[in-house]
Symmetry: C2
Subunit: 393 residues, 2 copies
Amino acid sequence: MFNKKLVEGLGKSSMIRAMFEEGARLKKIYGDDKVYDFSLGNPEVEPPAEVIDTLKKYVNSGEQGLHKYMNNAGFPDVRQKVAAYLQEKSGVSLDENNIIMVCGAAAGLNVTLKALLNPGEEVMVLAPFFVEYGTYIGQAGGETVIVNTIKDSFQIDVDAVEKAITDKTKAIIINSPNNPTGVVYSEKTLREVAEVIHRKEKEYNINILVISDEPYTQLVYDGVTVPSVFNTFKNSVIVTSFSKSLALPGERIGYIAIHPDAEDSDLLVDGMILSNRILGFVNAPSLFQKVIAECLEEKINTELYRERRDFLYNHLIDLGFPCIKPKGAFYLFPKAPIEDDIKFVNRALKYNILLVPGTGFGCPGHIRISYSVDMSVIRRSIPAFRALAKEFY
Amino acid sequence: MFNKKLVEGLGKSSMIRAMFEEGARLKKIYGDDKVYDFSLGNPEVEPPAEVIDTLKKYVNSGEQGLHKYMNNAGFPDVRQKVAAYLQEKSGVSLDENNIIMVCGAAAGLNVTLKALLNPGEEVMVLAPFFVEYGTYIGQAGGETVIVNTIKDSFQIDVDAVEKAITDKTKAIIINSPNNPTGVVYSEKTLREVAEVIHRKEKEYNINILVISDEPYTQLVYDGVTVPSVFNTFKNSVIVTSFSKSLALPGERIGYIAIHPDAEDSDLLVDGMILSNRILGFVNAPSLFQKVIAECLEEKINTELYRERRDFLYNHLIDLGFPCIKPKGAFYLFPKAPIEDDIKFVNRALKYNILLVPGTGFGCPGHIRISYSVDMSVIRRSIPAFRALAKEFY
């Protein structure tokens, strides 16, 4: 038998896969335009024109060496540009030695955890959270410690964080704007978390690394800016990708930035570069390293997403779904009208609506609605949501 | 402290890193053209014109969706093209469900091992071998069992393979043409290995997967063709990349092909697709999936490499270095004139020659010379090799 744990995982995920298959079946019967698929967290738009133009420039240039191996950390000139960009944003002094180019944020998280963890060490995650964090932590030999955020607001519960820190705590993963809630953690809360961490580090004589998973930082609305983690936490790394901000999810391009004042930062960087190689990533794709280095200030048109958020949010509230108005990302995370979110998601299928149960994010009783979906689909879905709501409210 | 095993690994590799640093120091002092760097296994040429033209075609086409997420296994049309290509090559019936696009061969091996292994199960490797196999196997929870090839010929020692199979043997990794020896395993030997495997599978009531790591299959000389693993082993997978054959090492693009008659092949494929996602690879870079699908019949000009092999091989033989004439890849693996290959590699530095000790491939007493180096460098290096040889012969 193959990897038993993995085969069990295949079994477990079969419920969600069954739902996707049900979605495909519905589309066949009723037509694509009669099925409302809010299940996927993928950018629905094309990359900004500047990205496509830069890509064309490189490909048509005849420049040599665009597809070659480089240092496992990435091209030095690319890392330098990323460092300069982040320095300007955060005010923290950075150079290319603080940057490692990686194959997307999932790669960056695996590389970071591999470099960091010894068997049994603990990494804290804040529920609701992207469920594969637990898998990544396990792969690196660590234990996942789940701490709930505050009910309804989904802001960090600082007391709960304090209570969950033990002498084995090695890191905490922060994801703001958050998948699945769209919530942006406030600067005040982050400063309180920093205080708690300092206190506990002294108490236990440990170091706790803050790992900030930031793929949605550029996707914020209503004039919100995401507080710089580098300004709040010295012992921190930023892991991010251009999947969402430049709509390049298929190209697997991102970076890790290591705070210059992080504990033993040189050793951590060396460990991450080695991890990048031995985990099999080797290096971030070379051509797209060059492309993103010239597009660091670009982002997709967030106005399109804001419009969809507002439209769908307003309708959901009208229909009676309790929901936080998210400040970032492209998800709504309303409360389900019944406790059993899986049952509710299955009920929604009756109306050709595809959702993801909150259970999949460590937060039962809620549902995730991705509004990275064409506006026409969102408009057409409202009568279906209305009919669904009528069953419960 | 960070991951202790990894930090130790950093310490261990520091000897080789020190050599590279010494190389950089030598280049600074004597100039690039006075230092003969044979240490790197990287294609020294640019991709074939057809690859660059196909890349331009896609980038300039304005086609939508080139940079989006797709199924974790890769674009269906790309997988179909790879399947058709491999079917024609091997005569084995294949469709897109037998192909998973991956971020290069290193990714493919990690994905395969993760899907396959339970803790403590054994994977056989044939020394000399690419040393990171052991790391990949360990990451997937397995144990590496090293079996030496036949002295001097580096062909598979079938008896030794038979003796090393236990009831815990789950797979054997074959790498032909081989890094570091350049040897191509003969069809006769592979058939004998197949017989041994069948016998032992019955004896222990186990299944042994043959994992064929094939990045160098296209780089063969003297009219040699590499026997198709699919024709010899039913329970087999091919893992390969376009890093060497299309000189695209920076782009991280390759595939896994699963034999349709492999044990539980559907479940194995599902496990690999899930592994691709949870290990953080997610999918192979999207644009280059499209590009390679139209360049499967292309390869770099191997005549350039053959010329370098012949020139360097003939000189090394003349100078007294015992060496197999390799039929593939771009490495020579002569015997060092002293048992201590690390000492010899350090001695070579005196003549500004950079080599890799065989110890790094589980085969002490030898040295690896990569001839993926400009012909002018190879020519200029001969007097240095002569002076080095004079110290020993």
